[in-house]
Amino acid sequence: MTRFLATTAIATVLAGSAFAVELTVGAANVTGFIDPGRDHSNVGSQFYYNSFDTLVEKNYDKLQGEFRPGLATEWTLVEPTVMELKLRQGVTFHNGEAMTADDVVFSLNRMYQATFPPYQVRARDRLANFDKAEKIDDYTVRIHAKREEPLWETLLNLQQVMIIPEDYTKGLTGDPKVAENDDFEAFSLKPVGTGPYAITQLVPGETLVWERFDGFWGEKAPLDKVTVKHMPETASRITALKTGEADLVTNIAPDQLSLIESDPALKAAGSATALFHVMIMNANHPVLKDPRIRQAMSLAVDRDTLNEALWLGKAIVPASHTMEEFGELYMPELKTFEYNPEKAKQLLQEAGYKGEEIVYTSFPTYYTNGLLAAQAIVEMWKEVGINGKVNVVDKWNGGDADMMARNWSNPMYFADPFGSFGVMWAPKGPSESEGRFNTDAAYAEAWERFRFSKDVEARKAAYAELMERISQDPPVLPLYRPFESWAMNKNVNWAPKPGHIPYVLDFRAGSISFASN
């Protein structure tokens, strides 16, 4: 019985191409649906890149954006707010339909001019500047922005604007000529794209099967079949790897890495994910209204110790809400957040803090080490005299008026501060709308300069201003970029690519191979 399951997959590789190359992935979470437009979850992001394409591709081997042709072969700004794109010819969808401008216009406008509520929600936070897409001829489309857009390529490379087939989608339910809400609902269970793997089976939350799509326009997929299975327990995933039930498993916490390293048949690959685990604080809670209290809550947290203890020093503790992936907008020189318990004590005294209980809410399991960090943070608060308490709830309470502090994450949805800080902390964005963060005219004005300035220096200056505001009246403390690991059989060569958004399982050509030892 020992490992016979694994050896079947690996053996076929060694035997050459006459046999099918199959891979089994044990995933902590399997998505409940597949729709790149609707989804922006960390669970979902694992699954899109293998099956869908964007108009503008990126070199994912590089940390910072180097855009290259995808389903569009070239793109030019024909007017300050109008981009014209030439489409690749000979692209077919998994169902055999040929991709034309109609599909592209349909895919883009389902987001830009969304009528389906889940699309409306997704479009508003990142695609609000786009008015519409229109067909010029079968292989040419134009996209109209509302204002001049400094981030064209970035925003055409988003998961949300991956291309799906028009006729197929419209024909799923009801009138085959009209895109009804039910069409999109049905699509999310029977997804079709243009990528190198077709999704041939989806049992929501349990199993997803990819099979090689031979009609793919680019380099053919290296695997014949990939089966992703839901394995929720960390211990089970590692055990499954050892018993051969899985060849590759996701989400291995640093504490478990020693188990992988001590087994000569296994290895791990990991990276500090492009996502911040953060602590948020409610600026409008009566006890926390004084910014000095929130500053103290932030200054009391020794993030380096958290990193050393919980992440074995492998996480990245940021000085500001900034990531290397942002390229020119990466600003490590900003010192927005620091550890200073003395200053925390002093601020508490100045603010007249009288030992009111401050509750830190945590999801029980959602974030790796989230509950441990919560308990540790409350202990660190105690050191400076903050009377903290951990509250463990499964429910998101970020919009409750009585929420005081809690854990959250700020993922990098695309490689720009707008795609990370911006999605969560824009004026009228989710944080302000949930009533725990306030902006004023000055913040909005700085935000506008940051979002739309064409000059990088102007954007940087504006972002620095925003960060200064955040540090003076803090609603958030980024704790660290968590170190996420994948573990695999020694024969599998795979690692997360630095250019992707977090958690993408990239099995395209050049991304995975097998050692022939």
Partner: protein, 308 residues
């Protein structure tokens, strides 16, 4: 007899209706499911939009009526999380749960009944007390403790047995043992007690006096009489223990059954799925109890002949 069955059926339907209604209103008391459906970090405007889209803006009575209506089309509504009919989701889960249950209960009967008989025959010597002590220890070991230590030894360390899902017969070994563990302990004790009751009765003495061999006396006369009691115990105790055990076992071994579905639906506040899954489990337990009730009635001539 017919009257008895009709009454039992009527009671079943009423109980199910009460359960469904209770679960519906209890889930609605627990706060807004939209918090779970849409995830974190969206604006109030968008939240309202999705609340309307998922039909959660309607009054609770309207939702209740709609919920009852969903029984008629046989789809039982759409899951909040997966956006497909609840009936489809639950249907996928029934067979794996049933498989696990059947293999667990079979193992239980195969082990516990002989052990119980053995303990009854040897009630006053070391064999009997050893069996009973083991049964007590077995009952005291929580099934999750048994499961995680089996995983540690047989899967993690020895790599003998797989741990996730139900795809091969090998996958059944540890979940079945886990489920059967406490059940065996319980049933052994019941079998022993039932056998002791029977063995002390007059007809047993008569049977022995007729010169039948001890084995025939015990198995034919003793066990066949005790089996009625054992059957009723199986229905009441075992159905309850097994349903609870299934939840734990399915959670540990990622077994794609109803128990796993139920826990996840509860955590994610997927009300349509939750309601129907509870209904399905209650239905199964009630059916089993109902069947055993009828079997029991059939075995008991006073009820069978309608004189009760």
């Amino acid at each position: 007899m017919l009257r008895h069955i009709t009454r039992t059926l009527f009671k079943m339907v009423v109980t199910l209706f009460v359960i469904v209604t209770l679960v519906f209103f209890a889930t609605r008391l627990s706060g807004d499911p939209i918090d779970y459906v849409v995830g974190q970090g969206i604006t109030q405007e968008d939240r309202d939009l999705l609340t309307r889209y998922y039909g959660l803006d309607a009054s609770i009575w309207e939702q209740y009526v709609r919920f009852l209506g969903s029984f008629i089309d046989g789809q039982f509504g759409l899951s909040f999380v997966e956006r497909r009919p609840v009936a489809e989701i639950v249907a996928e889960r029934i067979w794996p749960s049933l498989q696990l249950l059947l293999s667990g209960v079979s193992l239980t009967i195969l082990v516990a009944v002989p052990l119980g008989i053995l303990a009854a025959i040897h009630r006053s010597n070391w064999i009997g007390s050893t069996v009973m002590t083991i049964a007590f220890v077995g009952y005291a070991v929580p099934n999750f403790v048994l499961a995680i230590f089996m995983v540690l030894v047989f899967a993690f360390t020895l790599n003998w047995l797989p741990v996730v899902g139900n795809s091969t017969p090998w996958h059944f070994i540890m979940p079945t043992i886990t489920l059967a563990g406490a059940l065996i302990a319980a049933l052994t004790r019941f079998t022993r007690n039932a056998m002791l009751d029977v063995l002390s009765q007059d007809f047993m003495r008569t049977a022995r006096a007729k010169g039948l061999s001890e084995a025939v006396v015990i198995l034919k006369h003793g066990f066949s009489n005790a089996s009625i009691t054992i059957l009723s115990v199986l229905g009441l105790q075992i159905a309850g223990l097994a349903a609870a055990g299934n939840v734990v076992v399915e959670a540990i071994f990622a077994w794609p059954g109803i128990g796993d579905l139920l826990v996840n639906a509860a955590i994610l506040r997927d009300f349509p799925v939750l309601q129907f899954a509870v209904l399905a489990v209650a239905f199964a337990v009630i059916i089993v109890n109902g069947l055993i009730d009828i079997a029991y009635a059939y075995a008991d001539p006073r009820i069978r002949l309608g004189r009760a």
